[in-house]
């Protein structure tokens, strides 16, 4: 094959350009730290990477939702704990009032105290979290109880706030007040019991006091049962938080493996490509310099 001058110079130029292009490509990866910058770099890889990115964002959202759910559950638990203490105090008062030796005046004083406890219970039922009423079901902007202990919040199935703490995993994070504190209007729960107790103490009605005592025990049992449920939910939320964190780390790792350049490898490749580029330049300088003219004469 004849080797002509244009051929030689063009070939050398192409080799130099190609070596330069490869060097630049590696340099780009080195400076951005990314292996994938555009879909055509690795279509399948980018397809998966986009999926992981989206899942990562979704997981971050579920972690936030989970934290929010924990906040609500802890606030409810605190309120219910106060309510339990309050019912215990009421029971002590009832036991004291049920005693035969207590004079009627003392019972009136006890009744007074029970009424105060009841008011306190109403204010617990109107507790807020982040400016929203916790125990009114989804009617979060109005107090569920009026001064008389009448419940105007939402009741029945679905009457609670729901948080999505995982893909398709929904958790009810509040309880309607009527299921815990009862309702003076419809005559159920502790609010009714405390009112009965106070009336019985006022009226010096020992049988009434005793029946209220029984009702109070039933109310306390109900409350404890609700607290157990809350506790179980809190535990679930804690576990879920750890699970979500694991998932996030996993996705991050997978994404990084897909998208990120291995810096050590890239550095070595850059050194190689750089050397190749310099070699191409040096070879071109050698070849282009010599002609027959150097040797004639």
């Amino acid at each position: 094959m004849r080797i002509t001058d244009r051929m030689a110079s063009e070939r050398l130029l192409q080799d130099i350009l190609e070596a330069g292009r490869r060097r630049l490509e590696v340099h780009r990866q080195m400076s951005s730290g990314k292996r994938l910058e555009r879909p055509s770099d690795d279509p399948a890889g980018v397809f998966s990477a986009l999926g992981f990115r989206s899942l990562l964002r979704e997981t971050a959202r579920f972690r936030e939702n989970n934290d929010d759910a924990r906040g609500w559950l802890e606030a409810a638990e605190a309120s219910l704990s106060q309510a339990t203490d309050l019912l215990h105090r009421a029971r002590e008062l009832a036991v004291e009032g049920a005693s035969d030796t207590v004079p009627p005046e003392a019972r009136k004083a006890l009744a007074q105290e029970v009424r105060q406890l009841r008011e306190e219970l109403i204010s617990i039922g109107n507790a807020t979290y982040g400016g929203r009423y916790m125990f009114g079901g989804r009617k979060t902007t109005q107090a569920p109880y009026d001064a008389g202990g009448n419940y105007s919040g939402e009741s029945g199935p679905g009457a609670s706030l729901v948080r999505e703490i995982g893909p398709g995993v929904y958790l009810e994070v509040t309880l309607p007040g009527i299921e815990i504190f009862g309702d003076a209007g419809s005559g159920v729960g502790p609010l009714k019991t405390l009112e009965d107790l106070a009336s019985a103490l006022d009226a010096d009605d020992q049988a009434g006091i005793n029946s209220a005592l029984g009702a109070l025990d039933a109310d306390t049992d109900n409350l404890l049962q609700k607290r157990t449920t809350l506790g179980a939910k809190l535990e679930r939320v804690e576990m879920n938080a750890r699970k979500l964190l694991d998932t996030e780390i996993l996705f991050r790792d997978l994404l990084s493996r897909l998208e990120d350049a291995d810096l050590a490898e890239v550095a070595v490749r850059f050194a190689t490509e750089d050397a190749a580029y310099r070699q191409a330049l040096a070879a071109a300088a050698q070849i282009l310099r010599s002609t027959l003219l150097d040797f004639l004469r």
């Binding site: 004849r2 055509s40 986009l50």
Partner: protein, 481 residues
Amino acid sequence: MGVEFLGLEIAKRALMAQQRALLVSGHNVANAATPGYTRQKVILKAVPPPEGTELRGIAGGGVEVAGITRIRDLFLDLGYREQAEALGRWEVRSQYLAQVEEILREPSDFSLGAALDAFWDSWQLLSLNPESIAAREQVRQRGEILVERFKEADRRLSELAYQIDRTVEAKVAEVNQIASRVADLNRRITLLGGEGKSGTADLEDERDLLLDRLSRLTGARVYHSEEGLRVMVGDHYLVAGERWFELEAEPDPDLGGSYRVVWAASGERARLEGELGSLLEVRDRDLAGYRESLRRLAWGVASEVNEWHGGGYDLAGNPVAGENWQNFFVNKSDLSPPDYGFTAYADFRIADWRVNPEIAQDVRRIAAASSPGLPGDGSNALAIADLRRTSIAFLDDATPGDFHRRIIGSLGVAAQGARDQARTQELLVQQIEQQRQAVSGVNLDEEMMEMVRAQHAYGVAARFAGVVDEMLRILIERVGA
């Protein structure tokens, strides 16, 4: 004619022939770097002795220049042009698909996919705080950002199509100019007696270079015939001998004013390959396809969100159905029934798409609740947020995110394929060009040798003239004395 002066005649012819050879070498050297130059070679021929002299069979008549030829392989030209067409095609395709990748800029945190994720996330956040104006405001903003990203991608894709139209116009002008040049060169070559005759070599070089470019631009095929050179594009002559036929880029009403390329005389659509064919194909198939996919995704997302939104209740606890803000996304300014500002897919354009202005004005109208009178109810917002995981029949049973990823995935495959093909094609073209150069290129060492050879031959011929002259002088002196 006598024998006596034949010697001088031989010497004269030799001097002239070697001079010619030296000049051709000089021409070759001068054009060693000229693109498209084909090295030329002097064809020397021995001259038979003059008729009717006693020298017949004893000596010849010296040397003469039979012609100057181009050293060129027509078969390699054919191969080169075939590969150049494919190179033009893939290079254009690769270049424009890379720009589409730039426009859709994935993977990144500022892409359409990221905006889609952020939009769903804002509904999640709203489901946590349906009473909050700030959370509602965020849903509106993320909705507007989503619409903006779609609009930007759509607008830039349509700008790219417009840019292609301008390029097509310029390249058609270039083709016309080349065609007229080729026809002119054909005429001049014919005037000089046709291909391969003396004086045509450089004209033929110029023509071959133009033909190389022409096949890259249009996929034109070249035929050498009795009536001169012909160039065909599709099934139509672009150049036939000294005549050439004009191409024209004109707005096509069927393509919404995009350019098409027709034969100026007949108005018939030209069948183009090479760069021009690829430009039109990228515009009409790829760009149009990606725009359509985006429009489909936009409508799919908007209609699903609207469907759920229309079934919900606003912050005041009232149903949004039947109100002007029934739809979260609209694409008309008239928000009244029956479509409440959101049309069917056929009438939907991304450019008209926006968040319902009634909602933008008062974000309390966003329907976060799924039951009346429950301000703390974010279940409808949650249902909308969960659309991210919902397979939508209209989007070929994909989730919105998957549909988007499929677009990006297919773009990646197409762009990668085009880039690899272009690179392969470039290597092939380089390879053939190397082969062509091996045959037709100028080697300076070789020309050097030619020059030294011609120089020596010239010198010895001059010497021969001197010897003949001396011989004649002796004869004249002795005889005359």
